[in-house]
């Protein structure tokens, strides 16, 4: 599966309805977007829940919900996503919002493999699609048509596709492959050539171009058109992910046409690469076979001996990889490293961009498989959840300290002393006020009126202070709140323990699935390596037997056993060393 730009996220960005220069009308929504744009989907969804708890998101219409649906998909919560999209459709929302929701729903169904329902859902779209998702909508429609076997419909859609659309090369490729499977060679090659023409120096499109050339080569080979097949194989980059297959294909193409010397060049390049790659494993055996075909039995024997040793070393490496997986924390480390390397955090997204040098090379092919991606993302999320829960668990002590401090502060000596001092001062003020009232009463009415407003103010202040002191002396509300919070902490921590237990159980289950996948893959490598090793051994023995028989034969048949000076120097130093050191050679 090809790594494509993170187009899945594009629609999410569009439905966030906030771009540069656009104002966020609710700080809570801004905080959600801050997490979302960093592709921190778990945190984004927590922010949503927090926003609901603190009064919801205001003044952004249905867009926050639409975005939440998309984020839910990205975090692997497709049931929640479906509920959100369904509710947006049922609700009396604007046509544009409904169209978006139909589109996302159809996309989700398509990703689940439910193509009939995806098609039916997409047919609910009315009017025009928002411009920013129009091309993706057409792309999805074409993919669903391809899946349902309506190739002509998909062909028509491809004709109306904007050539500048980021989806265009992928549509042409998928359509080309689909038509190729139908033996519709002309249209298949035409679409694949269009896909290949998008190569622009970026890794994604270059890789797609390589795949397109490989697919075209296969289509030509299927029609016994070896020249064109060879031509397209030679257009595949010699350094990309698909170069191994292309080099092997090129070698085979030459072998098939009897050009053995030509075959040695691509096979020689391939031979220098990692033995974890199946094409290299095959090339290592094929090269001495080509020497044998050329009549260079000496060099062929060396090649088979070297191949035998290289397979042995590869099997040892494989054994080490299998052993390493048995370590307790190895799988978590492995998943973490893999996730970092794949650089892909989106459930809704694409296959990963694979770096050939960064991971256990035996799993390279497996890594690009959808099922492996699924397991990987599940495990990654579960490990993250476990870390999150453990972090909160460590905060149990913090909560206890806060609660203790709260309850102590209510009955502390300092606090009691301050309240007592305040009460005494209040009593003094009340006494002074009484004295003033008595003195005022003795004044004549005119003078009394002039100071009465001051006395009223003082009385108000004294009453307020009296009320506050009374509340401070008997704080039933605060005390009750502390107990309430303590109970909340306890209940949440109980939930946390249960969730942690569930998480660990699920991790165990998913880890066993992952281990099975990895072990199956390693097993397949092992079986292949063993098979090739036996083949190289048999070939070596056969050549040596023949050589002995030839030596014993009375007449020289004129066969040249010496290497041809014009040939490329295919056997490497390593092979030569291996030859000298191989006891089996005798």
């Amino acid at each position: 599966m090809v790594a494509a730009p993170l187009l899945a996220a594009v629609f999410l960005l569009e439905c966030s309805q906030v771009a540069i220069g656009h104002e966020v009308k609710d700080l809570k929504y801004g905080a959600i977007l801050f997490e979302f744009y960093q592709q921190k989907y778990f945190e984004t969804l927590v922010e949503y829940e927090y926003a609901y708890e603190r009064g919801g998101i205001q003044n952004h219409g249905d867009y926050p919900e639409l975005l939440k649906g998309g984020v839910s998909l990205s975090y692997g919560l497709d049931e929640q996503a479906q509920d959100i999209f369904d509710s947006l459709i049922v609700a009396n929302t604007a046509e544009e919002v409904q169209n978006r929701a139909w589109f996302f729903l159809a996309k989700m169904l398509y990703l689940r493999g439910d193509n009939e329902h995806a098609a039916a859902t997409l047919s609910n779209v009315r009017g025009t699609m928002p411009r920013e998702i129009d091309q993706e909508y057409l792309y999805l429609a074409a993919l669903i048509n391809i899946k349902l076997g309506y190739f002509d419909e998909a062909w028509k859609i491809s004709g109306s596709f904007s050539k500048k659309s980021p989806y265009a090369p992928f549509l042409f490729f998928n359509l080309g492959v689909a038509l190729g499977k139908q033996k519709d060679y002309t249209r298949a090659v035409s679409n694949l050539e269009k896909a290949a023409s998008y190569a622009d120096g970026t890794s994604e499109l270059d890789r797609l171009a390589d795949r397109s050339h490989m697919a075209i080569a296969y289509l030509y080979a299927d029609r016994q058109d070896n020249d064109n097949a060879y031509d397209h194989i030679n257009q595949v980059s010699t350094a990309g992910v698909f170069s191994n297959r292309a080099l092997l294909g090129s070698g085979w193409s030459s072998v098939n046409s009897g050009s053995y010397r030509v075959a040695l060049a691509p096979l020689g390049v391939l031979q220098q690469r990692s033995m974890a790659v199946p094409e290299v494993q095959e090339a290592v055996l094929l090269v001495p076979h080509v020497y044998e075909k050329l009549g260079l039995t000496g060099r062929a024997a060396e090649g088979f001996i070297s191949a035998y040793n290289r397979y042995g070393s590869a099997l040892e490496q494989l054994g080490s990889a299998k052993e390493a997986l048995k370590d307790a924390d190895m799988l978590e480390l492995f998943v973490h490293n893999l996730d970092e390397m794949l650089g892909e955090s989106d459930w809704f997204g694409t296959a990963p961009s694979v770096s050939i040098n960064s991971l256990s090379p035996f799993l390279l092919e497996l890594m690009s498989d959808h099922s492996f991606q699924s397991v990987l993302k599940d495990l990654r999320d579960l490990y993250a959840i476990r870390n999150n829960l453990n972090n909160w668990k460590r905060k149990q002590d913090d909560f206890d300290v806060i609660l203790t401090a709260r309850s102590k502060s209510l009955g502390s000596r300092d606090r009691t002393q301050q309240i007592n001092t305040g009460s005494e001062q209040l009593a003094d003020f009340q006494s002074d006020y009484s004295t003033l009232t008595q003195l005022t009463a003795a004044l004549n009415p005119e003078d009394r009126e002039r100071v009465q407003w001051l006395l009223n103010d003082i009385q108000f202040e004294i009453n307020s202070a009296g009320l506050m002191t009374e509340q401070l002396e008997t704080p039933p509300g605060l005390s009750l709140n502390t107990e309430h919070y303590a109970s909340l902490v306890d209940s949440n921590m109980d939930v946390l323990e249960k969730e942690l237990e569930k998480t660990n159980q699920l991790i165990d289950k998913v880890e066993s699935v992952m281990l099975e996948l990895v072990n199956t893959e390693l097993g397949i490598h092992e079986e292949r390596l063993k098979y090739y090793r036996v083949q190289s051994h048999l070939a070596k023995v056969r050549i040596l037997d023949k050589s002995l028989a030839d030596l014993e034969a009375p007449a020289d048949d004129g066969q040249d056993d010496e290497p041809d000076a014009r040939l490329p120097d295919a056997p490497s130093d390593e092979q030569q060393h291996a030859t000298q050191g191989d006891g089996d050679a005798a």
Binding site: L27, E79, A215, A351
Partner: protein
């Protein structure tokens, strides 16, 4: 060594390779077409058979994960809810509504200023500082708002100062500050620090908004 057997294997591999490589921005699942798989003459597994075995293993793994999917989704939802509950609880305990003040930072720039870090002072005392990562800056530039600080403030007048560091219009280091007197009343207080481009002055502008 059987050349024909290997050749057939290669064709089978190519057939499978073609059928299993749908290029799609969506994570697609295509069943591998193993119709071209061949059996070697000596009865050992061919590449086609191995590919079939791998495919079956992967399909089985996908099925196993699908079975667990519902449980995983339920777990995710309850952990999200638990995170919200614990966060609200923590805030309520540490920052009661009556004294709570929240400071946010938003960005609407790119031309005249590249933010690197911010330092926040409340009543002359440094209470928060943050260095922004590339991802955070992208998030800010697209409309995200960073919750920079939460604190307790008593009712009354207070001074809030923010100091921004980054790259200015000419690519040189740029430091600016802004101050606001805020009146804390009963109830939570929300303050937004905003940095924006001023096309009139051809330089960044810093403002503080009270919500």
């Amino acid at each position: 060594m059987k050349l024909d057997s290997i050749r057939r294997n290669v064709l089978a591999v190519l057939a499978v390779a073609l059928s299993t490589m749908p290029a799609s921005p969506y994570a697609d699942v295509d069943e591998a077409d193993v119709s071209g798989a061949v059996v070697s003459d000596d009865g050992t597994a061919t590449d086609g058979e191995r590919t079939l075995e791998a495919t079956q293993g992967r399909v089985k793994a996908q099925e196993s994960v699908n079975v667990l999917s519902k449980d995983i989704q339920e777990l995710k939802l309850s952990v999200i809810a638990l995170n919200k509950n614990l966060r609200v609880l923590e805030e309520d305990l540490l920052f009661p509504a009556n004294t709570q003040v929240n400071v946010f930072l938003s960005l609407d720039v790119g031309k005249f200023f590249t933010l690197e870090s911010v330092k926040l002072k409340l009543d002359g005392k440094v209470v928060a500082s943050h260095i922004y990562s590339g991802k955070e800056l992208v998030a800010l530039s697209k409309g995200g708002i960073h919750k920079l600080h939460m604190a307790n403030l008593s009712v009354g007048e207070h001074t809030l100062s923010a100091f921004f560091t980054g790259m200015g219009p000419s690519g040189r280091e740029y430091k600016r500050g802004t101050t606001l007197n805020i009146n804390k009343e009963s109830g939570p207080k929300y303050v937004e620090l905003n940095i924006s481009d001023s096309s009139m002055k051809l330089q960044p502008e810093y403002s503080v908004k009270q919500w």
